[in-house]
Every structure is written in C-alpha cells, then in structure tokens.
Amino acid sequence: MTDMVFDAGNADAVLRPSLRRGGRGALWRRRLAGFVLVMPMLLFSLALFGAPLVQTLWYAVASPEVGESLPHVAAQIRRWDGEGLPPDPVYAAMAGDLVEAGKTRALFHLASRLNYELTGARRLLTRTETRLERADDPPQDARAALIAIDKEWGQPEIWQVVRRAALPVTAHYFLSAFDLRQEPDGAIVAAPAENAIFLNIMARTLWMSSVATALALLLGFPVAYLLANASARWRGLLLIPVLLPFWVSLIARLCAWIVLLQKDGIINSSLISLGVIDSPLPLLFNRLGTYIAMVHVLLPFVILPLYSVLQAIPPTYMRAASSLGASPVRAFFTAYLPQALPGLGAAASLAFIISIGFYVTQTLVGGPKEMMMSYFVAFYATQTVNWGMAAALAIILMAITLIIYVASKRIFGADGAQA
C-alpha cells in the first residue's frame, strides 16, 4: 500500500507540468486515465491484502459468541448492573438458550470463548446443557434448576464473564498477548507467572532477529563488496551461489542443514575424524542451529541490496583518500562506509523484517526455546483454533514491522523495497 501511494505521488509530479498547459477538462481526463490504470492493482491489493487485514483486526477484538449462541441471555443481561447475582429472567434465558445452542456446534464455540476468561467454564456449560437436555421439559424455576446442576451458577463470576463477553468487542486477546488478564470483576491484573509467556516471546523475537540480522550483515558485506568490485565474468559466477538458494525450497534447504548438523552428521563426523573435537558438538535443535539456518536464508536478502548500493560507489573515492595519505582502514571507514550506509540500512531492515516472521526454521532445526511470535500465531490458528489470539499476536507482529520500517526510513532515508 505504501509503495502504491508513493508511486501515485510520483506520477502526479510527472504529470503536473503538462497539466498546467492543458485545460481543466484535460486535467481530469488525465487523472481519470491514471486512476483507471492503477485500478487493477488497487483492487488486487484491497481484495488480497486490505480486506484480510481488516478482518484480522476485527477477529482480534470481536466477541460474537454470546450474542450468537445465547441471544436471549445477551438481551436480558444488559439490564443487570453486575452486582450480586442476575435477576430471574437471565437464568430462564440461560436455561432455554443453552439447550438451543447444544443442538449445533455453537455451544462449543461459546464454551471455548468463556473458558478463555474463566477456567472451568467449558465444563460448566457442556455439563449443564447435557443435564438440561436430559430433563426434557424446561424447568419451572430456572435459577434453582441451574444451581442444582452446578453451584457455580450461584456464584457471580460466571455471570460477570458472560455479561462482559456479551459486549460486541473484547480486549481479552490483546490483554493476553501482553500477559495480562481481566478478572471477572473487571480488574486487570498480571497473568500468573506460570502462564506468562508472550512478553518473553516478544523480547526473544526481537533479540533473535537482531542477532541473525547482524550475523547476516557481517557475512554478507564482504561478499557484496567482492561482487561490486569483481570483473563482469567473475561477478556472474559469484552471483550463482548467492541466487541459488532462491531456487531451492526452504524445506529442502532446512533438511539439508539437518543432514549436515545432526549428531553424527557430516560436520561433526568430519571434525571428529580430523581430530578437532572428541565428542560431537550440539549443532541441532538449539539456538546455534537456528541461527545458522536463519542466516543462510537471510544472506541473499542482505547481499543483493548491499551489492546494488556498493557497485554505485566509484572506486576513485578510495583512491583519492589513499592519495591524500589515509591508511586503507581509515579510507574504508571515512570514505567508503558512509556511502555504503543506505545499502546497509536497507539490507538490515529487510533482513530484520524477514527474521521476525521466521517460523518453519525453528520448528525443524530449533526447539521450544527458539520459538518466536509467528510460531504462536500458527499455534493458535491451527492447533487450538483460537482465531482471536492468533489475530491479536499477528497484529502486534505487524505493528512491530511497521515501526521498524518507518524508523529505518527515518534513520537511513532508504526504502528497503527500493534499494
């Protein structure tokens, strides 16, 4: 989206002088023509990028379950002020709605939703529904009947949670993503220590991405320098190993790393037969293995933008610095590096943004201590089918990406995608 707005701005700047010559009608015609040309791209982005984004945002705060599964409860519970226990009509509505919801999977979605906020709510709801259904006739005194099934119905907690979940939006998922939880009475408190996880994971995501980016820059810079200063023939040859990983699937590359790094793999067995080490090094299913595989994926994304910037630096500057008496090191740091900075900035932000989305790599060559945020997005989306949690974490991940993108543009004045 950002790129498109940017391009439209450029187009406008190009068009403007000619617009002044034409009349007002010509101006609008040209604008319309431009707009029509951009239209397919705009629609494409809206349909495949904008709409899912808005939907994800909505999933992260939406709370439709009570309204859908317990429509009468949702209507009645609004009149209750949340103090003590709700009035009789709420109990009657609950008894009726539960049996109705039990006929479809709506009851399960509702029970899961309430269980996020109150452990045990799932069992309470499914058990109550089963007992009510078995009783055939709707109970005369719903309050007494519900409390007879489970005394939890005589406590305010479950009702407070239902009342809050009956609102169309909830802060639950975002609170959980920051290791916070809302008590039934509304107070926001820190999650119990044994369940706190996401602040730790966020810090780890940023740290591991920074380390992988730094390593990729350190390894990639000399290669990019070599590429930029090699003769055309050598350059072609050197580019092949840089580009080759793009043509091999990520899974195949990771499996190759497993073969290389495992306990009796090629690296360990060669080192042992050479007498460098006595026992195999732990290279797999840990942080080291994860960094190795991450950096390997990142290298082309670092080398290519760096190369495009470095090749534009005329070698005369270094020669001029040397002829003025600078040592090669000083010439590099004062004459060369400052000109390479936009390339470094672009490469670093690109590598970092790719890094924070890593997911498959850790699953195959890391362990639970290497899992970053995207793993948990996938975990909630595919394992527990908790879309709200997956959406909230995805939005936070995207917000971090946007902040880094904007910050790197401010600092380096370079656009990762343009370099």
Partner: protein, 347 residues
C-alpha cells in the same frame, strides 16, 4: 521469504479447495503415519481394496482434533475414517466433530474389551503404550524406571519426550516417586501439576521434544538422544528391522486408539463399511501380527500366537506398575495444561 511462503500456501490452499470441490474424491483413511499406518495399510486397507475394488486414499497426522475442527467448521470435510487417541475421541465427540454411529451394527459388543466401548462416536480397536526406550548397542546397563530417565549422571545424554503436557507430566510424576495408580489423582491438583513441572525442570535443558511418533526411533538409532519415551510398537518394529533398539515395560502408559468418522463426511456409508471390515476379528488379528499393538477383540486375540500376545501392552506381565491413560482427565485438562506447558517450555 515469508510472504512467498504464504503466497504459495494460500495459492496451494485455493487449488486444493478447487480440486476437492470439482472432483469426487476417494474414501480417505487418516492415521498416525510411519509403522503405525503401514500395518493398517498392509493388513486392512489393501486387502479391503482387493476384495471390494474401493480405492482408499491414506493420510497421516500427529493426532489432535484441530484439523477436524477446521474441516467441520468450514464445511470442507476431506477426511472420512480417522484413527484417534482416547482423549480426542472424548473431546471431539463432546464438540460434535464426529458422526454418531450404531456400534452394535458394526461389532459384537460382547467380544470387545470394555475400554473400547461406551462412546457413541467411535470404537476402540488397538492398544498401544508409551514406554522408555534405549539404544541397546550404546547402553549396556539398561534403565529400569522413569527415575533412571531423569538421572543425567547415570545415563548422560539428551532425553526424548513428546512435545506437550500429555505423557510428559505422567512420566515426571512417576519419576518423582508417584505410584502408577495414583498418577491422575496427584495430577488433578495444582500442587501435583507444580510437582511434575518441578521434576521436569531438573532435566529441562537435556530434553529434545518430538512431535511425530516416528522421530524417537530415528533419534535413538542416530545417537541424538540417550533415552526416550516412544511408542512400544514402533520400537519393536524398528528392532525387528535390525536396529539396536529396546524398551522396558515398567511405568508404561497404555491406552486404546479409536476409529471415528468425521462429521459431515460425504462418504459416511463407505466409511462405515470399511470400519466394519477393519473391526472384524480377522483384520484386527492381521494388523497385530505386523506390530505389537493389542486388538480390542477377544476373538482376534485368540487367533494370535502366545509369543505375540505377550508383547502387547495389555499382557498381564506387562501391566505391573502401568498407567491406564485417563481420557476423561485429558479431555478436560488438555487445553489448560497445554497453555501452561507452552509457557514453561518456552522459558
């Protein structure tokens, strides 16, 4: 890279949706892959296809009900007959993920063990166990209990455990001195769960987590782990194929696998007919000859050699200090404890 992967996945997903929508698919059986699915394929599915001419597509998964939740919720049911673990039979049945079946029309209920019956959603068919396995080439002085599994001095090296709270917490408690019969009583209290995690802390940095039942055998054979929790049948199959793997029975955790039909399956009738065939004593006995997982049918048991029967988790000699998995406990606590496990494992 990430965007590319996603674009590819979304594209591939759309193609799959189009493909399944456009053409009628074959009957599908989904199992746990590896040696577990191989014996189903050889002893049950291939003979069935030969007999009836009905083609069967085989799929594999690592257990859990999330894939079936997505299928049922999206209305795009691509699996028919599925092999599920006990707690997933309970959870999925309660959620309405499975078709209700008339068990009496499929089997002689008097012939099946009680653990296999009682659910309106599925029938238990084979018993299997999680056991302590080791590499007999590398370990000359075999471990005798889960306490040895936690003894890093006596048996240096990594430990393989299934990623997740189930099995892991039972094993930790047994290693901490809880008797097999008391495991779920202790685990039902918060103190018991704390105790299990505290015990796991003592070997945390040495644990290598597996997700698929095929992994522990590879790790043991390759020397990546010194000791591991593994499924008894797969260890024996690997052993019979010439790998130096062995396991002990003390502290085994056994349970049954169940056949279910995914709710809304377009091939419900075909799946029922296949299920009836697979639950016949002959088919159950045939599969047990390929892997030591005990059939739930007494008639099938009678067709097997006594030496084979002695290798089943339910053989009397193997049942001393054994834990019968509590499907009720895990159906109720799996999600809360998974959350806690994830937070613990990620630290």
């Amino acid at each position: 890279m990430k965007t590319r992967t996603w674009q590819f996945l979304v594209g591939a997903g759309m193609l799959c949706v189009l493909a399944t929508g456009a053409s009628a698919r074959d009957l599908t059986f989904t199992g746990f892959g590896g040696a577990s699915s191989e014996r189903v394929s050889k002893a049950m599915l291939q003979p069935y296809t030969k007999k009836t001419g009905i083609k069967i597509t085989e799929a594999a998964y690592d257990g859990g009900i999330s894939q079936m939740r997505l299928m049922v919720d999206s209305g795009n049911v691509t699996w028919d007959l599925v092999d599920v673990e006990g707690q997933d039979l309970y959870r999925g049945c309660e959620e309405g993920l499975y078709e209700t079946i008339d068990v009496k029309s499929l089997i002689d209920t008097n012939d099946f063990v009680p653990s296999a019956l009682g659910s309106p959603c599925g029938v238990g068919w084979s018993s299997w166990a999680t056991v302590l396995a080791y590499n007999s080439d590398k370990i000359k002085n075999p471990p005798t209990s889960w306490a040895d599994f936690f003894d890093l001095k006596k048996y240096p090296g990594k430990r393989g455990l299934r990623q997740g709270p189930q099995l892991t917490l039972e094993i930790a408690l047994m290693a901490d001195g809880v008797k097999a019969d008391d495991v779920y009583k202790v685990l039902s209290t918060k103190e018991g769960v704390d105790r299990a995690f505290k015990k796991l802390d003592t070997i945390k940095s040495s644990i290598q987590w597996w997700t698929s039942g095929a992994q522990p055998q590879q790790w043991l054979a390759g020397g990546d782990v010194a000791l591991t929790a593994a499924y008894n049948g797969r260890v024996t199959v690997a052993h019979n194929q010439g790998q130096p793997l062995a396991h002990i029975w003390n502290g085994q955790i056994y349970t049954y696998d169940y056949f279910v039909i995914v709710k809304g399956s377009p091939k419900k009738e075909e799946a029922l007919a296949l299920m009836k065939y697979m639950l016949s004593p002959e088919a159950l006995a045939a599969q047990a000859k390929l892997i030591p997982y005990g059939p739930a049918s007494k008639k099938a048991m009678a067709m097997l050699e006594p030496e084979r029967v002695a290798e089943f988790p339910t053989a009397p000699n193997n049942l001393t200090n054994a834990v019968a998995t509590s499907n009720e406990f895990w159906a109720e606590h799996l999600e809360d404890l998974t959350e806690r496990f994830n937070a613990w494992a990620a630290q």
